[in-house]
């Protein structure tokens, strides 16, 4: 690059890299032959930017790289292509039941054949988590920051100190130009032209017979505000990888169940789950006869533990903090925790039963007590008797040596083993096994075992457990079931506010930049000859209309199109 003389003929000393004199606007470069009259490159009003520094060092080179819009476009296009490639086949993250790389490799091979093998080997099966995709996003972020810094300050300086009287070349080489004779008094004409532009919302500055009119300068900051919003957005996205900022868990709750939300001090209770189906008459013809859900909802209560929270020997003391019917589009939220309805499963689950202790011989009822499937009480007082729960098998079965055991922790086939003490009973108490909802096999087993206790002298066979009026009017009474298990998604995302703020800032910037345009008109009259030039960063059409409108009102009728300097050259 040539060492350039940056001192303009008007006397202003410009920084290296300046294209148009900061003061009078005269082009500082000699143009190639034939281009002397071409419209000027008005970007940033021709002021120097840091990235145009001479003798760049390493840091300058990095700076220059990221401040180039060309590089930004490449980055945007690479990101676009990468994102699109990721949609060719299903992404790994959508499979919940696979975790290892071998499983994925096998899956892609089996499902998509050779193309799948290549896809997986290239890492495209986890595009959006890959280092190169993240890297592209980080580079776009860097580019946004540097590019904006590189331009916003010079642009601010250029727009903040504008000279009114510009060099003639500067005016005649704008995108919109007019030149002609002004009849009569020059100052009077300038005054009336000024008034017209003011009516169109321009702010006008006058210097004798020279004039600068400007409007909507703020829209020039639109792109930068947009970029600041994007930077904040990208930072927030990166912030989501900080573990403490982010939580994503699932909780399955049957009706009536309370559970702790892992890693928190909160508990959640499913008070009731309801599923509403569409009525047959509301369905489209291809849906008739199907169960189409209209609404599903978990009535939930959230508790906070306030005492004995980490004490295994005591039950935690809970305080209700929130209550909300959770639906797909209506989560429960408390602080930064949000609880969403994910899905549900129809699964009958036994919750509790009201059991009546009766006498096998007389049929006399001694009393009724509630027996829960979860955390049953250890001792029950029924009439004169005391029942002690010795053993509880939620999902009763026999192990390989025919000893009782529980197959799962779910109360699919619960069995309760009691020792009963009280007046007129055996000295050591009596042993009973009780199945509240026995299948055929358990029924038989219950009978055999209770007989065996009698023979063995552990029981007198005096008692029977009964559920009175189990069914009444077609409804279960004295027995409670959960019909559905609800699956809830528990989320915490501390980055979200920043995401929304970033998006909002970005939107404000876009609106500023696209729905308003910065327009400037310069003119000077030299010995009866009017020279007018005007510039806008976009919507030249609107600018020409403005200028033609104001000219027409001062006695100069020109079609707007004829003002287009670029067009007249073609």
């Amino acid at each position: 690059m040539l060492i350039q003389n940056t001192k303009c003929e008007c006397g202003h000393q410009n920084p290296v890299g300046t294209v148009l004199c900061e003061s009078c606007g005269k082009p500082l470069f000699e143009e190639a032959a034939g281009a002397e009259d071409a419209p000027l490159e008005m970007r940033y009003d021709g002021v120097a930017r840091r990235s145009q520094k001479q003798n760049p060092h390493l840091i300058d080179r990095v700076w220059n790289f990221f401040s180039s819009v060309k590089i930004a476009i490449y980055l945007i296009i690479l990101t676009l292509l990468g994102a699109a490639l990721g949609t060719i086949f299903q992404q790994e993250s959508t499979f919940i039941n696979m975790t290892t790389d071998e499983e994925f490799a096998a899956y892609y091979k089996e499902t998509y054949g050779t193309a799948g093998v290549i896809y997986h080997a290239l890492g495209l099966s986890h595009t959006y988590e890959s280092w190169w995709f993240r890297g592209l996003l980080v580079m776009i972020g860097a580019s946004l920051v540097i590019c904006s810094l590189d331009r916003v300050l010079p642009l601010y300086r250029a727009l903040n100190k504008q000279q009114i009287r510009k060099h003639l070349q500067f005016i005649t080489r704008q995108q919109v130009t007019y030149s002609g004779e002004v009849a009569g008094d020059e100052t009077a004409w300038v005054e009336s032209f000024k008034k017209q532009l003011k009516r169109r919302g321009y702010r006008v500055h006058q210097d004798g017979t020279a004039l600068l009119a400007e409007k909507n300068r703020f829209s020039r900051w639109g792109p930068y505000i947009n970029h600041i919003g994007l930077i904040l957005f990208l930072l927030a996205v990166l912030g989501r990888s900080v573990p403490a900022w982010h939580m994503d868990q699932y909780l399955a709750l049957y009706e009536g169940e309370t559970r702790q939300i892992p890693d928190t001090n909160y508990y959640l209770k499913n008070d009731d789950f309801t599923l509403e189906l569409y009525d047959e008459s509301e369905l489209a013809s291809n849906q008739k006869g199907k169960a189409v859900p209209k609404l599903f909802e978990t009535k939930a209560t959230m508790y906070e533990c306030i005492e004995a929270c980490n004490d295994p020997t005591r039950d935690p003391v809970l305080k209700q903090v929130e209550q909300h019917p959770i639906q797909v589009n209506s989560p429960l939220s408390h602080g930064d925790l949000k609880i969403y309805q994910n899905s549900y499963q129809a699964r009958v689950r036994f919750i509790s039963v009201n059991v009546t202790l009766t006498d096998t011989v007389t049929g006399k009822a001694y009393g009724t007590f509630a027996l829960r499937a979860d955390n049953p009480e250890r001792v029950y007082e029924v009439g004169p008797y005391t029942l002690r729960l010795n053993d509880y098998f939620p999902d009763f079965g026999l192990d390989s040596e025919s000893r009782p055991m529980t197959k799962t922790r779910d109360p699919n086939n619960p069995a309760f083993a009691f020792t009963i003490t009280g007046p007129d009973l055996l000295k050591d108490g009596e042993t009973y096994l009780y199945f509240p909802m026995p299948n055929e096999e358990s029924k038989a087993y219950q009978a055999i075992l209770n007989d065996y206790y009698v023979k063995n002298g552990q029981s007198s066979g005096k008692f029977a457990f009964k559920v009175e009026n189990a069914m009444s009017g077609g409804k279960m009474v004295n027995v409670t079931f959960s019909e559905y298990t609800t699956f809830l998604n528990i989320r915490k995302d501390k980055a979200m506010p920043y995401i929304w703020v970033g998006a909002a800032i970005s939107m404000i910037g876009l609106i500023m930049g696209f729905y308003w345009q910065h327009r400037r008109v310069w003119l000077r009259i030299d010995g009866g000859t009017l020279s007018l030039g005007a510039h806008t960063n976009k919507n030249s059409y609107g600018l020409r209309a403005d200028v033609a409108w104001a000219l027409a009102r001062t006695g100069i009728e020109v079609p707007p199109k004829s003002l287009d300097n670029r067009r007249n050259l073609r």
């Binding site: 970007r43 296009i77 949609t87 489209a284 797909v328 589009n329 998006a503 696209f514």
Partner: protein, 420 residues
């Protein structure tokens, strides 16, 4: 008459009025050189008639929309039929906005065919009222879908103007490689549009004739625990099956022009039960489209661009370029808000994550990145004019792929009900 019936009758009326408006525009442009008339006056008059017809059609279209809304109790944007009709309505709105800025009514000659094609495309899908799936029952979803469609509508108008510009500036004489290439690609854009018309003609033609054939396909799935599930699916074709689904049995086949059985079977990688049917539809669209194109060429005896170009000579290419850019510039913030920000808000509320890299989301992002590349490219010299017009055309292709292609090719969370 109930609201739904009213809405569908009004919709038919709107469709025919759109067609009438297009014919007026065609007369406005093509009839200029008819004998004893003043060309300028002729164009202005017929352009105005066309514009008024289009506005009336649009008002009917609005009546359709609100009547259906009232009739079904939720805003009609929740399946493919409803979304596409909404998009067509939004394109008309964008056209009216751009018209109010530039007063260039001939843009309608290109915007209207787009509206007509999209309305016809919407009618391919079942128009029956369907109840809402709970996940879709959210105010944010409605805001998201309508705003996104509005942004896309402005891109559509940008596309129409860009295509006009390309035809306007194409050089019919140039013999060198660049000239031939630009002619070829411009003509090809028109062929692509005619292929879509071919799709519509074949679907409605065979539907009108009541054609049907069906196949059954057995799929075997081995679950993780080793159990084997086999399932028999039946597919019904409404176009004569040139391609049968992969590994399928013919259940029912109406002979067509002596074709008694499918000519071949879909390749093994297209093993989905609907993949064969989709391939068959594509083949029919190409066949019908090429026949249509051939007929048009026979009538005109020259490339279609050479037919259209002379009628565009009164419009300034720079004006078209400005209109195209401006439409996109108006649409970009709307699209950003609708397709990305509102979508994120909805996703956050409904799916508990603001972004999930679901294919539909990714393609909305791809569209947005594409248009932002377009806007940045326009900041540099040398990227205005024809190149930027091509970008506007390709951009709209990306939009259409996002709306239709993703649903047809890649299925995700978003798949609309009633996609055929």
């Amino acid at each position: 008459m109930n609201w739904i019936d009213l809405s569908s009758n009004v919709f038919t009326a709107a469709f025919f009025l759109y067609c009438a408006a297009f014919i007026c525009y065609a007369i406005a442009v093509a009839g200029k050189r008819w004998s004893n008339r003043d060309p300028q006056g002729h164009t202005a008059r017929w352009g105005r008639i066309g514009f008024i017809a289009a506005i009336v059609a649009w008002v009917l279209h609005l009546v359709f929309f609100f009547a259906r809304w009232k009739g079904q109790g939720h805003i009609p944007t929740s399946n493919m039929y409803e979304f596409m009709t909404f998009l067509a309505m939004a394109i008309m709105f964008a056209f009216i906005v751009v018209y109010l800025i530039y007063r260039n009514s001939l843009l309608g000659a290109f915007a209207l065919p787009l509206v007509i094609i999209i309305v016809a495309y919407a009618s391919v899908f079942p128009s029956e009222v369907q109840p809402l799936n709970p996940a879709l029952n959210s105010i944010w979803l409605r805001i998201h879908v309508t705003t996104a469609a509005l942004g896309e509508a402005f891109f559509a108008v940008g596309f129409a103007a860009a295509l006009m510009q390309l035809i306007r500036v194409v050089d019919l004489e140039r013999k060198d490689k660049v000239g031939v290439r630009s002619r070829r690609w411009t003509e090809f854009s028109l062929v692509a549009i005619i292929l879509i018309v071919g799709f519509l003609v074949s679907v409605f033609g065979f539907r009108g004739a009541g054609y049907e054939a069906s196949f059954s396909q057995e799929t075997v799935e081995i679950a993780d625990d080793g159990t084997v599930n086999s399932q028999v699916n039946e597919v019904t074709y409404s176009l004569p099956p040139i391609v049968a689904p992969y590994n399928s049995e013919t259940v029912d086949f109406q002979a067509f022009l002596g074709m008694e059985k499918p000519l071949f079977e879909a390749p093994s990688w297209m093993n989905g039960v609907n993949a064969g049917r989709k391939l068959n539809t594509v083949i029919w669209s190409v066949i019908t489209g090429l026949i249509l194109y051939g007929l048009l060429r026979l009538l005109a005896r020259k490339p279609l661009i050479a037919v259209i170009k002379p009628h565009l000579m009164d419009i300034d290419a720079d004006d078209l370029e400005e209109i195209s850019y401006r439409a996109i510039a108006i649409g970009f913030p709307v699209f950003t808000l609708g397709a990305l920000i509102f979508a994120m808000i909805w996703a956050e509320i409904a799916w508990s994550r603001f972004w999930g890299w679901d294919p539909k989301e990714v393609w909305a992002l791809v569209t947005w990145l594409f248009y932002s590349a377009y806007l940045h490219l326009r900041l540099s010299r040398g990227w205005q004019g024809t190149r930027s017009a091509w970008l506007a055309v390709i951009g709209f292709l990306v939009v259409m792929f996002t709306l239709i292609g993703v649903n047809l090719v890649i299925a995700g969370l978003h798949s609309y009900a009633g996609v055929s």
